[in-house]
């Protein structure tokens, strides 16, 4: 129930056993190795060498990983993998892994052949697009039935295939007739914007013709590199395209044949990834030629396990466990009862607690639970939320934060169900059930006061936690004068709200306020300043007031859910006139209420988080903790049983 205590571990070991030692630590996953090189250590390890060979080993690992990654990404679309969210990740045994490592060179040969196939595919792709654009170009000339190599000059006559803009075709022809040039113009086809012509002219007219061509922006088509009639050329090109496609299919079948090796590669990738994570930690150590020194954070409960693990592999290691010092940046692990764990995600999304502060989760969880339900507050909605998230927890293999969020939703659903019964809301007013307490639509003020009461309780809790923090740090006076007097003043103000208590309330309030005026300026030197800061501190009352008022959202969002549900029901009832209407009514009911659940669950999550972050955490919480990231088995694709 709190932040787990951390121990600082220094470990001396032999370089030749370094790998083995880190191996067991990785398997145990209970030590975060931190950088020693920048630290001033008073232990005499003068040479802080970074072996050159380590750098090259690491880059070799990087290379291996990137080649495996390429192969995995390349094969992925061809392989059939089960969705890890539903089926979990594939498991790879030690034996299988050993076998894979023995055959590693064969697998890397396979990767080489894969990358050759990849290159082939991309070459085919380039060729294909080149041919396609050629076909596009030649297609309009299909009607021209002379082989393209016969175009050009033949003694006294020149034959040219030309393209002229469609709008200019007529004027070109007219010009030719007008000038009586010795030209034969044969239209052979139509391009998109150009008319395609075969022109045959006598050499003597060449310069005139070329001038005309220039005038009308006529292009001469050369067909360089081709032989035969355009129709034949196109047929050949199409054939080549077909051949490319068959070749590609062949390559693809070959790849799919290799796709069953995907798992092997993933397992290898993960193995080398672990190896890399381990090696990277070598960089953080100091050492001499024979010995290394390592610093790590170990959670106190795991100290025994760490000792045991290390002594099980070597007798030549020396460990020192010390308490963290003042300036150490201690990583944070939380340990909470199972029921509180889902709520950790709310804190994690805000900021992990300061390692020397308080873990707020145990105190926050009950409030979050109550507030979430109160804001959605419909029994059926609660059932839906719990059923859906329960189903997700049961069927899907969720991990980490995602799992906690779904669990949070599950608990929120339970709370929503309870509040739905209290307020008698079952799908709004669709199912009429007598409320256990009252319907907030009948008496919203009562629920508003209940909201304020919850707010007061949470604010008191916050102030008391702040006092506890002061007491723990030995500042008992501060706890009494800062938090204690505020509690007195606030209690007095609250008592004013009850008519039969007003007389006592007056004295309590005055005592609290007077105390604050006299003590809040105690850090000031000047007596006048002492008094003024004391007086000004009373202004904080507005802060507490707005904090309490902020809890009115508990009522407002609860009302919103109920009224929207009623709107949906009313709309649905209007439809119920005939058989089609009944179907439409059912659709409106289902769709509408699902929408309402979704919107209000989001709203409840957002607003109950906000109440924790601003109104509650603001009183006492210090964030900024750095998560504990031990060296551990953290793989990407498979579960390795190492």
């Amino acid at each position: 129930m709190a932040i787990v205590k951390m121990k600082k571990m220094y470990l001396f070991g032999l370089n030749k056993e370094r790998d083995k030692i880190l191996g067991v630590l990785q398997k145990l996953g209970a030590a975060e190795i931190t950088d020693l090189r920048e630290e001033d250590i008073d232990i005499d390890v003068t040479e802080r060498q970074l072996p050159e060979q380590l750098g090259s080993e690491l880059s070799e690992l990087e290379l291996k990983l990137s080649r495996l990654k390429f192969a995995i990404d390349f094969l992925k679309p061809y392989g059939k993998e089960l969705n890890p969210l539903i089926h979990g990740r594939p498991k790879v045994s030690v034996k299988k892994l050993q076998d894979l490592l023995n055959r590693e060179s064969e697998i890397f040969d396979l990767i080489d052949s894969l990358s050759a196939l990849d290159q082939k595919l991309s070459r085919l792709k380039t060729e294909e697009s080149r041919i396609k654009s050629q076909v596009e170009l030649i297609k309009p000339w299909e009607q021209m039935d002379i082989p393209v190599e016969e175009l050009g000059a033949t003694g006294r006559v020149e034959v040219r295939a030309v393209a002229v803009p469609k709008k200019d075709f007529k004027s070109l022809r007219d010009k030719v007739v007008e000038k009586e040039l010795p030209v034969e113009i044969i239209p052979v086809g139509e391009g998109r914007e150009k008319s395609l012509l075969l022109t045959v002219y006598h050499i003597s007219a060449k310069s005139d013709i070329q001038e005309l061509f220039k005038e009308f922006a006529v292009d001469t088509e050369e067909f360089t590199g081709f032989r035969g009639t355009p129709a034949k050329i196109i047929a050949q090109l199409q054939e080549r395209l077909k051949a490319i496609e068959t070749e590609r299919q062949k390559i693809k079948t070959e790849i799919s044949r290799l796709a069953n090796r995907l798992l092997d590669m993933e397992a290898l990738y993960d193995y080398w990834l672990l190896e890399k994570q381990k090696k990277e930690n070598f960089m953080k150590m100091a050492g001499t030629e024979k010995v290394f020194l390592m610093k790590a954070w170990v959670p106190e409960p795991s100290v025994g396990a760490v000792k045991e693990a290390i002594t099980s592999v070597t007798s030549a290691a020396h460990m020192v466990f010390t308490e963290p010092s003042e300036e150490d940046d201690i990583p944070v692990v939380l340990s909470n009862p199972r029921l509180v764990q889902p709520f950790e995600v709310v804190t994690e999304l805000y900021s992990l607690p300061n390692p020397r502060g308080i873990d707020p989760n145990v105190f926050m969880a009950p409030f979050y639970f109550v507030f979430f339900g109160m804001m959605v507050s419909d029994a059926v909605y609660g059932l839906v939320l719990s059923l859906l998230s329960g189903l997700a927890l049961w069927k899907l293999k969720l991990k980490g934060m995602g799992k906690k969020l779904v669990e949070l939703l599950f608990l929120g659903g339970i709370s929503t169900f309870i509040w739905g019964m209290i307020f008698g809301s079952w799908l709004g007013d669709l199912i009429k059930v007598k409320p256990l307490w009252l319907n907030p639509l009948d008496n919203p003020l009562a629920v508003l006061f209940l909201s304020f009461a919850f707010g007061l309780i949470q604010i008191y809790t916050g102030i008391i936690l702040s006092a506890y923090k002061n007491i723990r740090n030995g500042k008992i006076v501060d706890a009494l004068l800062d938090q204690g007097l505020w509690l007195v003043l606030l209690t007095g103000l609250v008592m004013m709200a009850f008519p039969n208590l007003t007389r006592i309330a007056k004295y309590v309030t005055i005592a609290g306020a007077g105390g604050l005026v006299l003590t809040q300026g105690r850090s000031q030197k000047n007596i006048l300043k002492k008094f003024i800061s004391g007086l000004l501190s009373l202004y904080n009352v507005t802060g507490y007031l707005s904090d309490v008022l902020s809890y009115s959202r508990l009522l407002a969002l609860g009302l919103a859910t109920g009224v929207i549900a009623t709107v949906i029901n009313t709309m649905a009832r209007m439809l119920a006139v005939n058989i089609l209407g009944y179907i439409a009514m059912l659709l409106v009911l289902i769709g509408g209420h699902l929408f309402n659940v979704a919107v209000n669950a989001l709203g409840a999550y957002v607003h109950s988080s906000r109440l924790q972050y601003i109104e509650f955490f603001g009183k006492f919480y210090e964030g900024g903790g750095k998560p504990f990231q031990p060296l551990r088995i953290e793989t990407k694709y498979v579960d390795l049983e190492v």
Binding site: Y350, S550, S552, L557, V599, L602, V606, H607, I614
Partner: protein, 160 residues
Amino acid sequence: MEVTLGQVLALLGAAMAVFLPGIGSAKGVGMVGEAAAGVVTEDPSKFSQTLILQALPGTQGIYGLLTGFVVMQRIGILGGNLLPLTTYQGLLVFAACLPIAIVGLLSAIAQARAAAAGVGIVAKRPEELAKGITYAAMVETYAVLALLASILMLFGLKLA
């Protein structure tokens, strides 16, 4: 049945409570959607995160509809028996609609700006989504308070 000025005023209030926050929410959700689309072009996996941010300024429209519905219920238009409201009664209903109508409109747009900035957080540091949501939720507070004021006023009115 004679239509009274009071009835017109009350219905006008209901209409304003629906359409002003509705405009605000439509505009706000649109603004965040534009920002979100930019992020998703770079990284489609951020769709669900940005969608949450986009939904946030949408609540004002719902609050407005809700208030409008409460008015309709209170003045009996839903049951088909419109109450014969006096001019002052109509003005009272109208006044009760003002908080959510105006605060809803403006807070939706202000919240959309905060949420769109939150989309920027998601683009660079997706793990900090909760902080973006919290910034936007800070704005929503005022819409919630306005809703509460409007509804409490409407429940408090004696119309029959």
